[in-house]
Amino acid sequence: MIRRIGLVGAGAIAREHAQALAGIRGARITHVVDRHPDRARALAQSIGNATWGTDPALMFADPDIDAVDICTSPDSHADLTIIAAGHGKAIHLEKPVALNMNEVDRMLAAVQSAGVSFLVGQTTRFQPVHLEMAAAIAADQIGKPRMLHASFYAGHLWPGGWRAWQLDAARCGGHLVHNGIHMIDLAVWLIGGAPERVFARGFKTFSPDLPTPDSFHVTLRFADGAMALLEWSYALRKRGDFLRRIVVVGENGSLHHTTEGEAGLHSDAANPVPPATLGAFTNQMQHWVDVLRGKVDPLVTPDQVRAAFAAALAAQESYGSGQAVTLTAPEVRT
């Protein structure tokens, strides 16, 4: 049976998801909504045979739609998720999950109560190098992971100039939340636990008037003592520049990957991310379709959603206060 998907939002991430889903059997996008009708229509037409609209409520009420992929800005995530769950739709939700922990708990309660599947789209997990790392750790290749050190650098990425929603903390939750969650979730997943202490610093690369640091680092202390140092920077000089390095040190060995020197395309005309990082959206959408078809459980579990998001909020708080933030052990939800 083909799963019929409604796409909420028609921005950059939605287009990436649509492109990835186009190549996957077993599901297809049948409806697109966006508050901008032109954008909704354009994306629906590019998919072919998809209808479009501007009201997500109508889509959620449509019995011909099995699942929804919510790709809007974070300030709308909680309401859309709760309404979709109320209509029994399976949900894929773009990160970050929400803007605050109260919203997260309401959302998790709603999807649990409705009995629908809920996958938060932590795309970084689905980058090939990280899937490989997780597999190596799961196969006990390095023993218990004790330290994770990751440096993710790029040139300035945000579209929209000074209008970018990423500059508005009220809409995105702050940079340490909406991009910090990529790395924090990765650490929660690879180390396998919940952070209990978080510290962060950041800086504004290109303008002192940026309302948020475009570059930052976060330290995490996990309940079992493991620790992580995570760096995120948009301070590389050229747009399109890309440098990533990740190390996990375990009790018996270490895993390491760097994009430096990775074979791939280097061209002024096209500057794709290196192969070990490429293809995450396809992997992510394939996983979601597998979830929809009942083959697997969502890779991102509710307790991980909660633990990573609590740490991301703490990182944002730490950046503001200059102090480390201690978290009480997140409640584990099953």
Partner: protein, 361 residues
């Protein structure tokens, strides 16, 4: 034709790294290691180490410290004791009017570092320390910063992870890095000097605030003593520069050699990466692959160069690159790192003028 007088060196205690410094010293023309000296009250194993190295390198061994320090043919005293004796032995050698080069760390308490700094300021001899700033990749990085190629440095990330080595490969005795009675701390005390001095060398900025997470994850000697074997640090420097450090001893560092030593520096107008394991020539055989360091092993070259440069400087009465104030600053950062571990919060690094006021001499 005049003949340059030889430059006399005493190795004062030989329990730590002396085995790798002695061949470097003996390879320098006109340098003569006149004695290996150990304090009479030192433990038997320390005397055995001195005797073994004396035998191996055909150097006389003494237990009369003052008499050895007073020898007129001694120009430089190289302190290779366990870390807790560094400051006291260095001060004793300075008091004898000699130049002093001490192994790292500079001292194991900030008060000792302050006393040593004050002693060096009052001494006729000059004080310096073993460091790795002459490692070729660090020199290339400094040249790039000096040339303005990266603009203003904004952020640095340094990883310094050593692979085990506790069974005699890189550490003579595990207690020398894990028993606080000898080492003064754990691997923060042992290793943090390297990344801290690199950050200060490349930025010209002082470290103002330190946050540290530390753990004891991997090794029994560290567990038994209750000292850390690894740590992760967040630093804030002058000018809003940020730095991060991953440091420690792990079962296997992610590098082919004994140490994974690498850095990323982001500047306003460019970035650079540094890896002491690179460049490497890959050599392949049917059942083996080996990396041959191009231009030699960076760590060995750093040790050779720091000793060579220091002696070149001291022979013409010039202060070597690494000063007593630099040594003090590394200990101020280490002191802050440990205070942060205790506090669970970022702490302010004690600043240099306060130290000169508070010194204990």
């Amino acid at each position: 034709m005049s003949v340059a007088p030889s430059f006399g060196v005493v190795v004062l205690s030989a329990v730590r790294h002396a085995g790798s410094y002695l061949p470097v010293l003996q390879a320098i023309p006109d340098v003569r290691v006149v004695s290996i000296c150990e304090e009479p009250g030192a433990p038997d194993w320390a005397h055995q180490d001195a005797a073994a190295l004396g035998h191996r390198y055909d150097i006389s061994v003494s237990t009369n410290v003052q008499e050895t320090l007073d020898r007129p043919d001694v120009d430089l005293v190289l302190v290779c004791s366990e870390p807790v004796r560094h400051a006291r032995l260095a001060m004793q050698a300075l008091a004898a009017g000699k130049h002093v080069m001490t192994d790292k760390p500079f001292a194991t308490h900030l008060a000792d570092a302050s006393a040593l700094l004050a002693a060096s300021q009052a001494a006729t001899g000059r004080l310096t320390m073993i460091h790795r700033l002459f490692s070729p990749p660090i020199q290339r990085a400094r040249a790039a910063v000096d040339a303005g190629h990266v603009g203003l440095p904004r952020a640095l990330d340094i990883e310094w992870l050593a692979s085990d080595g506790l069974s005699g490969e890189s550490v003579e005795r595990a207690d020398l890095v894990a028993d606080p009675g000898l080492s003064g701390g754990g691997e923060i005390m042992n290793f943090l000097t390297y990344p801290i001095s690199t950050i200060r060398y490349l930025t010209g900025a002082e470290i103002r605030s330190v946050y540290t997470e530390a753990g004891t994850f991997f090794f029994d000697p560290h567990r038994q003593s209750g000292v850390e074997d690894a740590a992760m640090l967040s630093l804030e420097l002058d000018h809003g520069i940020l730095a991060t450090i991953t440091v420690g001893r792990v079962p296997q560092a992610p590098a082919p050699g004994a140490v994974s030593a690498n850095m990323r520096l982001i500047g306003s107008h460019g970035h650079l990466t540094l890896d002491e394991s690179q460049p490497v020539l890959d050599a392949w055989w049917p059942k083996e692959r080996r990396g041959l360091p191009i231009g030699g092993d960076a760590g060995q070259e750093a040790v050779r160069a720091v000793i060579q440069h220091a002696i070149d400087d001291l022979r013409v009465e010039r202060q070597p690159l690494f000063t007593a104030a630099d040594g003090w600053s590394t200990i101020a950062a280490i002191d802050a790192a440990y205070r942060s571990v205790t506090a669970g919060q970022p702490v302010v690094v004690q600043s240099y003028p306060e130290a000169t006021r508070d010194h204990h001499v």
